[in-house]
Symmetry: C2
Subunit: 200 residues, 2 copies
């Protein structure tokens, strides 16, 4: 690749990022359903045609926004999975972090919640991919816990799915709303329960 191609492609990456950032802002401000590709283009002072050079449809832009929002949660989870300390503490911190990040982005922001709600209903592959990536970080922590003798010997992949499924009420944006009235169990009571099962 010569320097001119490289410059062009880095400009393309930048434009792509600006489209995604603008789309995310518009989803927050006017909502997912009401935002059009023309709105996104207008905010960036470019033609809709230019936006379509990067994304073939509005739904592709939405996917990119979703990936970015979920990617931030994945990065936080990865950092905790790779940190030092007892596995039980990291597991607790990981689930708490997901709960806090999802509350901040999807619950306090009803417009973004609309996007998530549609994604979950339409069962976007990106939601499934996000769940599977989060499983990997949970697995890492649980494997460490087994190796350190903190948890009993067990299949880390299955254990990760069990913890993830048990704590779904605290990580799944729609359940967080639906189950909001249920103050018991708290997230820590649920984590104590999971840790008891992992130790047993």
């Amino acid at each position: 690749m010569n320097s001119r191609q490289s410059a062009a492609s880095s400009k393309d990456v930048e434009t792509r990022c600006r489209i995604v950032a603008t789309a995310e802002r518009l989803f927050r401000e006017i909502g997912y359903n009401k935002t059009t590709v023309a709105d996104i283009a207008r905010c960036l002072s470019m033609s809709a045609g230019n936006v379509y050079r990067f994304f073939t449809s509005k739904s592709e832009i939405n996917e990119a926004v979703g990936r970015q929002l979920m990617g931030e949660v994945e990065q936080a989870a990865e950092a905790i999975a790779n940190s030092q300390g007892p596995a039980s503490e990291r597991l607790r911190k990981l689930i708490h972090t997901v709960e806090r990040m999802n509350s901040e982005r999807y619950l306090s922001d009803t417009k973004l919640h609309e996007m998530v709600s549609i994604a979950l209903t339409e069962n976007w592959p990106i939601v499934r991919e996000h769940v599977l990536r989060m499983d990997v970080y949970l697995q890492k922590v649980i494997r460490d816990g087994i190796e350190a003798g903190e948890f009993r010997h067990q299949d880390p992949a299955l254990a990760a799915r069990l913890v993830h499924t048990s704590t779904m009420r605290f990580c799944h944006p729609r359940l967080m709303v639906e189950c909001g009235e249920f103050t018991v169990p708290t997230i820590d009571q649920m984590l104590d329960f999971c840790l008891a099962a992992l130790h047993a």
Copy 2:
């Protein structure tokens, strides 16, 4: 109450039941949204005005249908909770029964699923009441298990909420659809995990 009043009131109860049964059938056949009070009245060869003597709105009829559908699941759970046998076996049977009954009625029947979906989104008080009643049966089984020394000493009310929350993916009609692709954990793997936590 004299015999004439009693006869009238038993006829009223019967009419109420017929309205609910007809509404349920129409929800299954033409869907929740499309069914009107006029449709229900027509099927019963009565006037819409007569239906309104029993239910002040369509939403009240819907509630009665929901209560009946969930009431059947509650009766099955109660029978299991009051049966004999080890608590762990009854707990397993209870969750399996809920999963099977909800699959039969809400998953194989997409029209009824529409009703449930609306109920969950609108967060009908009846859904919350159903969850709390199911908690009571779970509590009964867990309390028996603690008294028999099968489970460690713990608060049965909290333990019931923990088991119920952990197994939500298998009991909550919308999650059963959304999580359908996730074949792990199975319901028995999740129950083993919960039982490990209760025993620990």
